[in-house]
């Protein structure tokens, strides 16, 4: 029964699960065949951008759930066009999931199991969003102005 189930792995992708263990940022640059990398909260994820084309998986760690640096790391990867897997690891709590999904995380390996029923509720509380992020949600302001061509959103 779903509402009593718990999980320590949530994945929102259809492709094969990368089987290579993620290595540290330093190790990644030492191993030219590495395809999975682990970003600690204090790491500068932008160092990875020049090498993104050989990355299949980026794990971003949350040492404490209150440490929100990983949200920026994930979104920076998506802004750079990364389409591989971004996995949140560590102190990943159910009430962070919606924000994490919006920042581009598409898999989750929390330290403590998540209740699947709670996950289902938490990901579906909000009918809309107020701003763009790394997902494809259309912000409320754009819903209010269907006359604006979303294809050329450059209004600067």
């Amino acid at each position: 029964m779903a509402d009593t189930g718990e999980t320590t792995l949530l994945r929102f992708r259809d492709d094969a699960v990368p089987d290579e263990p993620a290595v540290s940022l330093d190790a990644f640059f030492d191993q030219s065949n590495a395809t999975a990398v682990r970003i600690e909260a204090g790491d500068d994820v932008r160092l990875l951008l020049p090498a993104l084309d050989r990355v299949r998986l980026v794990e971003i760690d949350f040492p404490r759930f209150r440490d929100g640096r990983g949200f920026s790391s994930a979104r920076i990867l998506r802004e750079a066009g990364f389409t591989g897997e971004i996995k949140a690891t560590g102190d990943v709590l159910v009430d962070l999931l919606w924000f994490m999904r919006r920042c581009g995380f598409d898999s989750f390996a929390p330290d403590a199991p998540l209740n699947l029923a709670d996950v289902e509720i938490a990901l579906n509380h909000y009918p809309n969003v107020y701003q763009h992020a790394a997902d494809d949600a259309v912000p409320i302001w754009a819903l209010r102005h269907p006359e604006l061509n979303r294809g050329t959103a450059d209004n600067a």
Partner: protein, 549 residues
């Protein structure tokens, strides 16, 4: 004023449902106290000494009669019949039960109100000039941009677990009535006066890195002129630079002001500009059309024309009040009415449910349905016909709301202090009360003129002692309450940080010390000088001599 559409209402309703769910999980033990804490803080619930405090957002200080009646209802039903106006224009309740909090939020949602992101490591409610839309000196009404910012900073995914709180203020006048430069991020709306560069368009002068607390900083100007429709990109740039680079190992060093200071103004600005270009290129800013939609809600109310500017001053008590509490309105025949929440012997910013209802009635009848909450913990009726002033005064007077002390020595800002707060080292409220009693004589107050006293019960500085012409900081000295005196601060456009005079005093001693400083000012002042002007002219030493003898 702004009205929610179906989208806004659905988001606030969803928030209530989410918090109800989170509270259930906490009560059933699925969330630890540590895990639940940020969730309740992001819904305005803060644990104090005796109970939970709920901080309800009053976006940019503007509230309708209907909303104000709901605030009264909440005071009566869920609290002890009182509410408390804060320095960031919010309403706080001090005696809330956790299990009732979701119902309170649901009640608020029925009148388009919420407590979203009013506490915790959040992008907080946006402050704005309490005279917005009425002030004779404003360039435009700052509230439409404040509302746009409110929306885009609600539930920002990347910035949902920031290093610390983040406070934004927006003003559109030379005069700063909201302590803009004491905010993490401040906007002064300006008009481009450079004729070689398409003069006349509106822009944002941006400030960053201000804040009170134990390490006070006045915000630096980090941008001269930002096109307003780029504000989302710019704000995200500021937030990202901070979110990625702030310390995470010491809660007292995680505010943005510390990062700005550590990096230096130039380096911070450089990083922000770089990130700003990145965000601009994404093309995700809010378009002018959305601003225009919001701004339409803030169109000026239908002011009557041809009204007289005469005020019948035949009642001397009324005349006294009118001379102090009224401010010039941009429309002929109208005035801005300041309502004092600082009665002698009262708690600064407190008001009863009955008083809230009375003010709501007056706003409905005489002020186009609007009330404003002010940074100085008072209220404003922004648009009152001069012909109605006497009736408004009589009603206020009957409710104990006709105090005459706007910006005077008894118009004191004070934090809740040790009477309520777990962080406090000393009581603030009784000190404010003793000072107000000492200077209760109105002739004396008027003679002293503008004099801003601000009192905090601990170094977190919620009572803004750093920005007081006279600041008072309560500390714990070997188990007894001790009060330090500061001089020379300002939260206005002449912003400055106050300086500690020397050894502290006990409760009676601090009142005497304030009086000695004030008496010294009277001896030294030149015609037309306010306390702060005299202090700045003569410096610290003459005051120190008088205070310590």
């Amino acid at each position: 004023m702004y009205q929610y559409d179906k989208y806004d209402q659905a988001m606030v309703d969803a928030r209530v449902a989410e918090f109800r769910e989170q509270t259930r999980r906490r009560i059933e033990g699925h969330l630890t106290d540590d895990q639940f804490k940020p969730l309740r803080l992001k819904n305005g619930l803060y644990l104090q000494l005796h109970a939970y405090m709920l901080r309800v957002a009053i976006p940019y200080g503007t509230v309708s009669s209907r909303q104000f009646r709901m605030l009264a209802h909440i005071a009566r039903k869920y609290d002890r019949g009182y509410g408390h106006v804060t320095t960031r224009q919010n309403m706080q309740y001090n005696w809330i039960k956790l299990e009732e909090a979701p119902d309170i939020l649901a009640d608020l949602a029925t009148v388009q109100m919420h407590a979203i992101q009013t506490s915790g490591e959040s992008i907080r409610n946006v402050s704005a000039d309490q005279y917005a839309g009425a002030a004779a000196d404003e360039i435009i009404d700052p509230r439409p941009w404040a509302e746009v910012i409110r929306q885009i900073t609600s539930f920002m995914p990347e910035f949902s677990y920031l290093p610390r709180k983040f406070k934004i203020a927006v003003i559109a006048s030379d005069e700063d009535r909201v302590a803009m430069r004491w905010h993490d991020f401040g906007i002064r709306i300006v008009k481009n006066e450079n004729p070689e560069n398409g003069a006349g368009e509106i822009g944002f002068e941006c400030y960053a890195g201000g804040g009170m607390g134990r390490t006070p900083f006045i915000a630096y100007k980090i941008r001269e002129f930002l096109p307003p429709t780029q504000i989302l990109s710019y704000l995200q740039a500021v937030l990202r630079v901070w979110n990625r680079n702030a310390r995470r190992d010491n809660i007292h060093k995680q505010r943005m002001k510390i990062l700005v200071h550590d990096l230096g103004e130039e380096e911070f600005r450089r990083q922000v500009e770089e990130e700003f270009q990145n965000f601009l290129a994404l093309g995700q800013d809010v378009p002018q059309a959305e601003y225009d939609r919001v701004a339409a809600y803030f169109a000026p109310p239908p002011f009557e024309t041809g009204l007289s500017d005469e005020i019948d001053r035949s009642d001397p008590d009324f005349a006294l009040w009118a001379d102090r509490q009224l401010v010039a309105h941009k429309a002929p025949g109208y005035a801005i009415v300041n309502i004092s929440l600082k009665p002698t012997g009262g708690i600064p910013g407190d008001m009863s449910a009955e008083q809230m209802e009375l003010v709501a009635d007056l706003a409905e009848k005489y002020s186009f349905d609007e009330v404003r909450a002010t940074h100085a913990q008072n209220l404003v009726l922004p648009h009152v016909r001069k012909a109605d002033l006497y009736a408004v005064w009589q009603a206020l007077d009957a409710a104990g709301l006709a105090g005459v002390n706007l910006d005077l020595v008894t118009d004191i800002i004070a934090c809740p202090g040790l009477d309520y707060c777990t962080l406090a080292n000393a009581r603030s409220i009784p000190v404010a009360q003793r000072i107000a009693e000492r200077f209760a004589d109105l002739d004396r107050q008027r003679d002293l003129g503008e004099l801003k006293i601000k009192i905090s019960g601990c170094i977190n500085a919620c009572g803004h002692h750093h920005a007081g012409h006279i600041g008072i900081l309560g500390v714990d000295r070997k188990g007894t309450e001790n009060y330090q005196l500061l001089l020379g601060g300002s939260g206005s456009e002449d912003v400055s940080q106050a300086k500690i005079t020397g050894p502290g005093f006990d409760e009676a001693g601090i009142v005497d010390a304030v009086e000695r400083a004030v008496d010294r000012y009277r001896e030294l002042r030149e015609p037309g000088e306010r306390f702060i002007d005299t202090y700045r002219r003569v410096g610290f030493d003459p005051f120190k001599e008088s205070i310590y003898g």
